[in-house]
Symmetry: C2
Subunit: 145 residues, 2 copies
């Protein structure tokens, strides 16, 4: 086990991963409290996690409902977890940036895709148990480091 990173290093590593990683685990729930989980391509616009998924899919319906969402990024022993709330994406600019990152544009698909912006209010990052302390990097939407 490596020595625990300090807060600044964790933030740097986390932002690098959010920028370069392709897929994230998106956990949502329905109104009855049944959990759903799927890896989806995501785009980090510097503030929010942007994803696109068919409007009628389970994830699409759960996100449209607006309950709390949790996003897992990275490896199981190099984890970033983001808590946030979803909002629909309406602006073409964000859709363009998403398409540029993934070389794939949901607007060109035959299915009815929706975009969602997950607005983080808490970000945590840790590798192993010795990094559980100090894992909170953002609280109430504010970066701590």
């Amino acid at each position: 086990m490596e020595a625990p990173r300090n807060a600044q290093q964790r933030k740097t590593d986390t932002l690098a991963r959010l920028t370069s990683d392709v897929d994230a685990w998106i956990a949502t729930a329905d109104a009855d409290g049944n959990a759903y989980l799927l890896p989806l391509s995501f785009f980090w616009d510097g503030a929010d996690v942007i994803i696109s998924t068919p409007r009628s899919s389970v994830t699409g319906r759960n996100l449209s409902r607006g309950g709390r969402v949790r996003v897992g990024v990275g490896q199981l022993r190099d984890v970033t977890v983001i808590d946030g709330t979803p909002e629909p994406v309406e602006d073409e600019q964000t859709m363009d940036a998403y398409a540029a990152k993934h070389s794939w544009d949901p607007r060109r698909e035959s299915g009815d895709y929706a975009w969602f912006r997950i607005i983080p209010d808490r970000v945590q990052a840790w590798r192993e148990v010795n990094e559980l302390a100090g894992r909170t990097l953002m609280r109430d939407g504010k970066w701590l480091a």
Copy 2:
């Protein structure tokens, strides 16, 4: 992108991963439909996913509630997703097997740990989009291959 695997190969790969992998993403939800997600050490006893977590943690409380649970195993481009329902684990034999796998016994921790058995009714496995077809390996608790 590699050629898609057949059902038998996917099942073989999935069972190998469930046996050898250490951590899994556990997605749960509260009664109000807010999602939660955490990587946890797990033990596959050949039929169910066994996890242990503090009884009073968010995951512990969500699992005690009994709503649907979703488990993500593997890499983001080599995914196994398990849908199931949680039940408390009472037998010492399962706790022993969990402790043996992880060289860590929650019974020896000072916190009040609970064990849960997630009983799968659906198992899906895929690597990339060309494996989305045929990704369902178990349906209604029955392996299809």
